[in-house]
C-alpha cells in the first residue's frame, strides 16, 4: 500500500466542486466595490444590473434559450421546487396528475410527497436495472389530468443518462409540460433546451465549479408558472428577492467555462473513470458496477462491494485521505438504503455496500492509481470482519466482477 498523500484525494464531485479561481475572480468585485442593488437607479446599481443582464445572456446562450426565459434561484433545490409547485399551482384547474421517476433527487421526490398531501396524484415511474426510464412508459402514464412530467437528465448517484429528448417529444405531442432536473448534467452533456424538448430545466452552479447557493430555472415562454416567493418584482415577477449578484456572475462564468471545456472534460475525466472502473473490477472480487455501462456521466463510478457496509468503507477511505460517498442505509439520515439502488432492483443488503466515487477535472491518473492501490485491502479487511462473507464466499465461489 502507498503512503497517504499530502492532499485529500477528492472524489465526491457530484456532491459539490471547488469554485474555480477564474470564477472567484469574476465574483469578487460584486461583494465589495460593485455592491449595488440592481433595482436602484444610480450608477452603482446600473453596474449590478449590467452584470445580471450579461450573466443572463451568457447562461441563455449556453443552453440555447432566450434571456427572458431564465429565472435565477438559490440553487437546484429551489429550481426544482419552483418548477413543480409553480406549474402544479398554475394548472390546478386543468388537472392534478404529475408523472416523475422513482430515482429523482429528494428535491423532486419530497416536493411530490408534499403535493400528494395537497391532493395531487403522483405516478412514480420505475426504472430498469441500469436506472433508465422507458419513454413509452411516460406516454402510457399520461392521462387527461396530467399537468406535468418531471424526469431528471442524469442521475446523481449512479450517473445514468435518461432519454430526455425522447420523453420531450412525447410530452410535446401530448401537450404536457415537461421539466427536467439537469443539475448533474451541466458541463458533461450538451444542453440545448429545444433539442431536449424541455419546458423547464433546473441548474445548480456548485456542481460545475461555481458557487453554492445559486442556480437557475429555465422556463420556456408561455409555460404557466405561479411564483413561489412573493415580494419585489425581480426576475420578471417570478422570483422575488434582491438578486445574488456575485453568485449569479459566478454561475454565468462557470457555465461559460464548463461549455468551453466540455469535450476536453469528458475526454479527460471519462478516461479516469474507465481506468477506475476497470481497476476495481480487476482487483476486487464480488463487486458490481451500478448504473449503465455506457449511458453514464463521464465522472461517475458507483460500485456495490458485497458483504461490507458503505460507511465503514468511507471511514477507511477517509483515514487514507480519500473523500467519497455511499448509498448505504447507515450513511443516510433516514437509515434507508439508497432509493435509487432499490428502484434499480439492487437487494437492500447489497445496496448497503455501495460507494460512489465522482471524479473531477483536477483528479489525476496517480490519484486513481492510489485509490486502486488501497481499496482492495480495505475491502478485504472489512470482509474478514463480516459475518456474511465466509458463508457467502464459499457458496458463491468468487466474484462476478
Amino acid at each position: 500500500m502507498e503512503n497517504k498523500p499530502d492532499k485529500v484525494v477528492y472524489m465526491d464531485h457530484s456532491a459539490t466542486t471547488a469554485v474555480h479561481p477564474k470564477v472567484l475572480d469574476a465574483m469578487l468585485p460584486y461583494f465589495s466595490e460593485r455592491f449595488g442593488n440592481a433595482s436602484s437607479i444610480y450608477g452603482l446599481a446600473r453596474e449590478a444590473r449590467r452584470a445580471l443582464d450579461q450573466s443572463r445572456q451568457t447562461l441563455a446562450e449556453g443552453i440555447g434559450a432566450k434571456p427572458e426565459e431564465i429565472i435565477f434561484t438559490s440553487g437546484g433545490t429551489e429550481s426544482d421546487n419552483l418548477a413543480l409547485k409553480g406549474v402544479a399551482d398554475a394548472l390546478r384547474s386543468k388537472g392534478n396528475h404529475i408523472i416523475t421517476s422513482a430515482i429523482e433527487h429528494h428535491a423532486i421526490l419530497h416536493v411530490c410527497e408534499y403535493l400528494s398531501k395537497r391532493g395531487y396524484e403522483i405516478t412514480y415511474l420505475p426504472v430498469d436495472k441500469h436506472g433508465i426510464v422507458d419513454p413509452d412508459a411516460v406516454g402510457r402514464a399520461i392521462t387527461e389530468g396530467t399537468v406535468l412530467v418531471s424526469i431528471m437528465h442524469a442521475n446523481n448517484e449512479v450517473g445514468t443518462i435518461e432519454p430526455i429528448a425522447e420523453i420531450g417529444r412525447i410530452c410535446k405531442e401530448r401537450k404536457v409540460v415537461f421539466h427536467s432536473d439537469g443539475v448533474q448534467a451541466v458541463g458533461k452533456l450538451p444542453i440545448k433546451v429545444d433539442e431536449l424538448g424541455v419546458d423547464l430545466y433546473s441548474i445548480s452552479a456548485h456542481k460545475f465549479y461555481g458557487p453554492k447557493g445559486v442556480g437557475a430555472l429555465y422556463v420556456r415562454r408561455r409555460t404557466p408558472l405561479i411564483p413561489q416567493a412573493q415580494g419585489g418584482s425581480q426576475e420578471r415577477n417570478r422570483r422575488a428577492g434582491t438578486e445574488n449578484t456575485a453568485g449569479i456572475v459566478g454561475l454565468a462564468t462557470a457555465i461559460a467555462m464548463a461549455e468551453e471545456r466540455r469535450d476536453d472534460y469528458n475526454r479527460k475525466v471519462g478516461a479516469l473513470r474507465d481506468r477506475l472502473i476497470a481497476g476495481i473490477q480487476e482487483r476486487i472480487p464480488s463487486v458490481c458496477l451500478n448504473g449503465h455501462p455506457t449511458r453514464r456521466l463521464s465522472n461517475n463510478v458507483n460500485f456495490c462491494f458485497q458483504y461490507v457496509e458503505g460507511e465503514s468503507i468511507l471511514l477507511n477511505l477517509d483515514l487514507m485521505g480519500v473523500a467519497a460517498s455511499s448509498g448505504s442505509a447507515c450513511t443516510s439520515a433516514s437509515l434507508e438504503p439508497s432509493h435509487v439502488l432499490l428502484a434499480m432492483g439492487v437487494q437492500p443488503e447489497i445496496a448497503h455496500g455501495s460507494v460512489r466515487l465522482t471524479l473531477g477535472y483536477d483528479n489525476t491518473e496517480q490519484e486513481v492509481d492510489y485509490v486502486l492501490s488501497i481499496l482492495p485491502e480495505i475491502i478485504e479487511r472489512l470482509r474478514s470482519m463480516s459475518p456474511l462473507y465466509s458463508k457467502a464466499g464459499a457458496a458463491a465461489g468468487g466474484g462476478n466482477g
Binding site: E309, C330, H352, P387, L388
Partner: protein, 126 residues
Amino acid sequence: MYSDLVMDHFSNPRNVGEIPDADGVGTAGNPVCGDIMKIYIKVKDDCIEDIKFKTFGCGAAVATSSMVTEMVKGKTIEEALVITDKAVAEALGGLPANKMHCSNLAATTVHKAIEDYRSKVGAGSR
C-alpha cells in the same frame, strides 16, 4: 463525527474473528438499518474465557462490537448479563445521536450468545 476512541476501536477492532468450537453463538440484526452482528463465546467455570465477533455494519456498529468484547472478556456470565447497550456506548465516550441505535446490537448479541450457551448446557445435563 466519531470520537477518537470510537475511531480507535473501528480502525483496530479487538477480538475480531470466529471461535470454531464456541460454547455459545449469538446473532442479532439491527432492524433500523439492516446490520448484523455475530458473537462467539468460550465459557469456562462460568467465566467468559474468550470472545470473538464479526460485524456487518457502520463505524459505530464495529466500534461497539469491539468495545463490548473487551468489556465482557474474563467476566462471569452474571456480570456479562448486566452490561447494557447504554453502558457500551458510554464506555466509548458516547456516540453521535443518529448512531445511538447502532449500540443496541452489542450487549444484546452477547446476551444471545449466553442464552445459546445456557440452552446447550441445559440440554446436556438433562
